[in-house]
């Protein structure tokens, strides 16, 4: 299983096409947390996030044999999850993402976070939503193309945004 965890995603797709369950499970393990983060970045609740992750994997199954570039399956999954999330958010009547102000952490949240998690968690809660979403996705993939697909942003802006958000996180940690 260790070897599968390090395998190229394109190889995992090609093996899954031959009904290799271990390869499929390795894909699921590698990307599900990222897909959950994509859905969460669109402000969906737990049930809807679970729904988005499930239907994204079902969409991959229906296109497994016709995916043109299996190597790019990570970006494909992120794009699909984001599209599903935005559709579901619209159906739920949630406002467009750019209209939502950064969520202010309540005193209760802050105390709970300090006590139960750690200083980094508290600082993350204070960050604006765009930075929090970016840092979460960056924590799950180092491929900028997947980050861009996950958050619907140009690949070229991932690096500068990462630097800006890490600086903001440092300021929160210091404050």
């Amino acid at each position: 299983m260790d070897l599968l965890e390090q395998a190229d995603p394109g190889d995992l797709v090609r093996r899954a096409r031959r009904d290799d369950e271990d390869a499929w499970n390795a894909l699921v393990t590698r990307y599900s947390e990222l897909l959950w983060a994509v859905a969460r970045s669109c402000r969906l609740g737990d049930a809807d996030c679970a729904d988005v992750v499930q239907i994204t994997w079902l969409r991959l199954i229906e296109r497994l044999d016709t995916l043109h570039t299996p190597e790019h399956v990570g970006g494909w999954l992120c794009t699909t999850a984001r599209r599903e999330s935005l559709r579901l958010a619209a159906a739920r009547g949630l406002p467009p993402i750019q209209d939502v102000p950064a969520a202010a952490a309540s005193p209760h949240d802050i105390v709970a976070a300090r006590e139960s998690v750690c200083a980094v968690a508290t600082a993350l809660r204070r960050l604006g939503r765009p930075c929090r979403n970016l840092l979460r996705v960056l924590a799950l993939t180092s491929r900028y193309s997947e980050v861009a697909a996950a958050l619907g942003m140009p690949t070229g802006s991932v690096g500068p945004s990462r630097a800006r958000c890490l600086a903001a996180l440092r300021r929160e940690l210091a404050g």
Binding site: V28, V53, Q54, L58, I61, A91, L124, A139, R170
Partner: protein
């Protein structure tokens, strides 16, 4: 803390604040059993109108096409009605991502209906005009 260490610390914090529920992984692994090798995919004409599982409204309609056949579906609450053209030679199957499938013969006009459906992803499978298996893209009930 350098950038890499800070990113790792953020990863740990996120995993603690908002962990991926175990059931989500189980459902994702289970998706492999829904693979239908050789089946033709019937895709929606306009993916933006795919039923989204919001209950209690006026329902949503969507049309799929593929394999020389077309399917019109209407999802209203827990009820799914539809019509396959040309009329399939064998019963229509309603697949559910979770739970058992259901089968029903379409009437002379290719119409069918499934009721009392629990929420979740669904797909219609039927025999196309040339005998090939046709499966609609997954949609939400």
């Amino acid at each position: 803390m350098n950038d890499e260490a800070l990113t790792r610390a953020a990863a740990t914090a996120f995993a603690d604040i908002d962990p991926l529920p175990g059931g989500v992984l189980d459902a994702a692994r289970d998706a492999l059993r829904h693979r239908l090798p050789g089946a033709v995919l019937a895709e929606p004409g306009d993916p933006s109108v795919l039923p989204c599982g919001v209950r209690g409204g006026d329902g949503q309609r969507v049309a799929f096409s593929g394999g020389g056949a077309s399917v019109e579906l209407s999802v209203r609450g827990a009820e799914l009605t539809g019509r396959v053209r040309p009329v399939p030679a064998s019963p229509v199957t309603l697949r559910r991502a979770t739970g058992p499938s259901a089968r029903q013969a379409a009437d002379d006009a290719g119409r069918f209906a499934f009721c009392d459906l629990p929420p979740g992803p669904a797909s219609i499978v039927f025999a196309g005009p040339d005998g090939a298996t046709v499966a609609t893209s997954w949609f939400r009930v």
